[in-house]
């Protein structure tokens, strides 16, 4: 034999899936809803999506270049962060605002804590909340859709302010013909993306289903509408719950890794979301619920470590 043999510890074969492929799949899964938003709202929405993603990727590159670290933009995770943030912004927002958010998400929330895998809060959502606090008016002014019976309010806000339920059209809610952020409105497109992620085994339906189920139960119990399925469906489809549950609550880095911890996490998410929506000042609560529950994840993990096979009974 001419060359030396390679030596390494077992196993000697590896599954073909890589971090970059997983992150790319998440981007692919968000393309339908992003396209829907762009088609519905036009040029500004397109600019927001493109520039926010570009800013996220560039700020990661610049930070790593400046700090003389290995360049990791090839793992697609910065693109995911940028895209989630863009889809969480209103369609007519001045483009520079989400771009500032992108830089904040990557530099402050992700890189300062050590980069991919080390951040304890979902970067895109952290940045969204930063923007909500800093530019409250711009971040909550949504573009009305055509002749709108709800007069430009998001369905959740309309219902919260005691709007007439007869004006809430479930089909419009499902298809996305409602005011809202660029990527949260089309439940159909979001569910297509979610299905893609589940089929590709990128995410498990466990956290989203328990999360949505808990919100539903909470709304039934405390929503003040009794057992009204129409109202319940409007609450679930009306805001950012579907987007949050499938694309943000499932973020690997900021969700628990223990099987039981994931259940606890999803239930807490559901309760927090219900509390914010029904008893808080704003009609929405998904973003805050997720970032606040992110903070609890290390504790949830620690308290839910399972025992090994054959040691279940041991202390």
């Amino acid at each position: 034999m001419k060359k030396m043999l390679n030596l390494s510890s077992n196993p000697h074969i590896r599954d073909s899936v890589t971090t970059a492929e997983i992150m790319r799949d998440v981007v692919i899964a968000m393309i339908p809803t992003a396209l829907y938003g762009i088609i519905q709202w036009g040029v500004n929405a397109a600019l927001v999506v493109l520039l926010t993603v570009a800013c996220a990727v560039l700020s990661e590159y610049a930070y790593e270049k400046f700090m003389k670290m290995q360049i990791t933009i090839g793992d697609w995770s910065a693109a995911v962060t940028g895209l989630i943030l863009a889809l969480n912004c209103p369609p007519d927002i001045p483009v520079w605002i989400p771009c500032v958010g992108s830089v904040f998400a990557i530099i402050v929330i992700k890189m300062l804590y050590g980069g991919l895998g080390k951040n304890w809060m979902n970067p895109a959502l952290g940045a969204r909340c930063f923007l909500l606090i800093s530019f409250a008016g711009k971040m909550t002014s949504f573009t009305p859709i055509g002749a709108d019976a709800m007069s430009g309010a998001t369905p959740l806000a309309y219902m919260k302010n005691g709007g007439d339920m007869a004006n809430v059209n479930l089909m419009n809610l499902f298809l996305g013909r409602i005011p809202g952020t660029i990527g949260e409105v089309s439940k159909l497109c979001l569910l297509i993306g979610a299905l893609y992620l589940i089929v590709k085994k990128v995410i498990s339906p466990k956290i989203p289903c328990i999360y949505i189920g808990t919100v539903a139960l909470f709304t039934l119990l405390f929503g003040g509408h009794g057992f009204d399925l129409y109202y319940l469906a409007s609450e679930i489809l009306g805001g950012g719950l579907i987007f949050g549950a499938f694309f943000m609550a499932t973020d690997y880095v900021t969700s628990p890794i223990t099987p039981n911890g994931q259940v606890v996490y999803a239930v807490i998410l559901g309760i927090m979301t219900g509390l914010f929506r029904l008893f808080g000042g704003s009609a929405e609560g998904v973003s805050y619920a997720i970032i606040l529950t992110n903070i609890l994840v290390p504790v949830i993990n620690l308290k839910t470590i399972p025992r090994a096979f054959g040691r279940e009974g041991d202390k």
Partner: protein, 466 residues
């Protein structure tokens, strides 16, 4: 009964098509034969021959060096050339008996004589197995006779034949099942005769339907023998996973299969027991799969123990191109070889030669907490958390996370999208913890002894005072 599977595991590319249809070919070595004195778990064997001695097929070259040990039997006839340190597949230099093969294959008296096991007592059967040098042929090499002597023979209610062969690429057990199913069942009948309450179960993964069909046919009419099809999933052949899949019982690292009423032995070990007890042939051969994309003609070979790997590969048809990696065993748990000048031993396994080493080409990146390792772990561990403890060399944290339960199956590293060397870290950590435990035990023993000596001193002084 069990659920025919277990929680966790992975489905790697199985590569078995390369060699599965190649019938076992017997090879006759030309070169020097090397018999390491340590080719089993336990104390090394003690040589019974000296340089210059003439030896025969079936002759004991070395005797067991303790209760957990195994004799070494000569597989050729010839002259003892040396007793010296030799490299083994595991990478260690161990004392070995080197025999110059005279190609005559003269055997000891009685070698190959038929014997009726029903006329033998329990002790006689166990002794034959012991003297035949039989150890677990699945790769671990634990002396089989020791397994046949549990504390309470009556408490054993399952004798499990591990024919899962869950490691990708390997096909030697499959060929055993197809070519000599009667010997597997024969060996099982022998051991069942010494366990009055045990039921025999041959457990095969369901990716080998022809083997299952054949064994089921052959087992028809044998009372107390059953063939069970297990779901195909790696590591189905892991001892704890197999016991759980068949019986629903769970054991952990501090228990023996016997604690769950089970004895587990590999399919080829059954053949070896049958040959030793019913044909008076001690363990002198090994069935080796030579396979992988670098091998010109993948196949299965029956070779005398002690044959050189290089010669085995040459006789098998050699490489079609230079391999990047050669593995002794399967791709999930095998040991990489850096030299082919090592002998086929009882605990060595197949040869897998790969043109490309995927592990060396993939950079390790940061853990993203995806949890694939948690889902894949058949031991229900948290590899991500264990990895943190291992990187910090934090033995206390590692053991509190049940890290010592790791069976080193490789599933976590296999599925990791960040290509982190999890299994490797756990293997190192387990050795570290074991070393610390040994050091502590030694320290405690030394302290106890010095205290005892002190006590004796005071006592004698008191006596003098009296």
């Amino acid at each position: 009964m069990g659920v025919t599977t277990f929680k966790g595991g992975v489905h790697p590319y199985d590569g078995k098509d390369l060699a599965k249809d190649q019938a076992i070919v017997e090879l006759k070595p030309q070169g020097l034969m090397v018999y390491p004195l340590s080719q089993h778990i336990g104390a090394p064997a003690k040589p019974l021959v000296a340089k210059g001695d003439h030896v025969l097929v079936g002759q004991k070259l070395a005797e067991a060096g303790g209760f957990i040990s195994s004799p070494v039997i000569c597989s050729v006839s010839g002259t003892v050339k040396a007793i010296e340190k030799r490299l083994t597949a595991g990478g260690a230099m161990v004392d070995a008996i080197v025999v110059d093969n005279d190609q005559n294959y003269d055997s000891i008296e009685g070698f190959g004589q038929a014997r009726d096991y029903t006329k033998l007592s329990r002790d006689e059967i166990v002794n034959i197995v012991k003297e035949a040098g039989i150890v677990g042929l699945g790769g671990a090499g634990f002396p089989t006779s020791v397994k046949l002597m549990p504390k309470d023979v009556n408490k054993i209610d399952y004798f499990l034949v591990n024919a899962a062969e869950c490691e990708p690429y390997l096909t030697s057990d499959y060929r055993d099942m197809i070519e000599t199913p009667e010997k597997i069942i024969g060996g099982l009948k022998v051991v069942l005769s010494i366990f009055p309450n045990a039921k025999g179960v041959i457990a095969v993964e369901d990716n080998k339907p022809d083997a299952i069909k054949l064994l089921t046919e052959k087992a028809q009419g044998e009372s107390g023998i059953e063939v069970v099809a297990l779901k195909t999933k790696y590591p189905q052949g892991g001892e704890r996973q197999l016991i759980y899949a068949v019986t629903g019982r769970k054991i952990n690292s501090s228990m023996l299969p016997a604690d769950a009423g089970c004895i587990v032995d590999n399919a080829d070990t059954m053949v070896a027991i049958y040959e030793a007890v019913c044909e008076s042939k001690p363990l002198v051969r090994k069935i080796v799969t030579v396979t992988g994309d670098a091998v010109a003609k993948p196949g299965n070979f029956k070779v005398p123990l002690g044959m050189n790997y290089q010669e085995l590969i040459d006789q098998a048809g050699g490489f079609k191109d230079d391999p990047e990696k050669i593995i002794c065993g399967g791709p999930m748990m095998g040991i990489p070889l850096f030299k082919l000048d090592v002998p086929v031993a009882k605990n060595s396994s197949s040869i897998l030669a790969l043109l490309h080493d995927p592990v060396s080409q993939e950079p390790t990146t940061a853990c993203i907490g995806c949890g694939r390792c948690v889902t894949a772990c058949p031991e229900n561990l948290m590899p991500t958390m264990l990895m943190k403890a291992a990187l910090n060399k934090d033995s206390e944290r590692y053991t509190s996370l049940d890290g010592m339960e790791c069976i080193e199956c490789g599933c976590c590293s296999y599925v990791c999208p960040a290509k982190r060397p999890l299994t490797q870290a756990f293997k190192q950590m387990k050795r570290r913890v074991n070393a610390e435990r040994r050091a502590e035990a030694a320290k405690a023993k030394a302290e106890a002894e010095s205290k005892k000596a002190e006590d004796n001193n005071t006592k004698s002084t008191e006596e003098v005072k009296k």
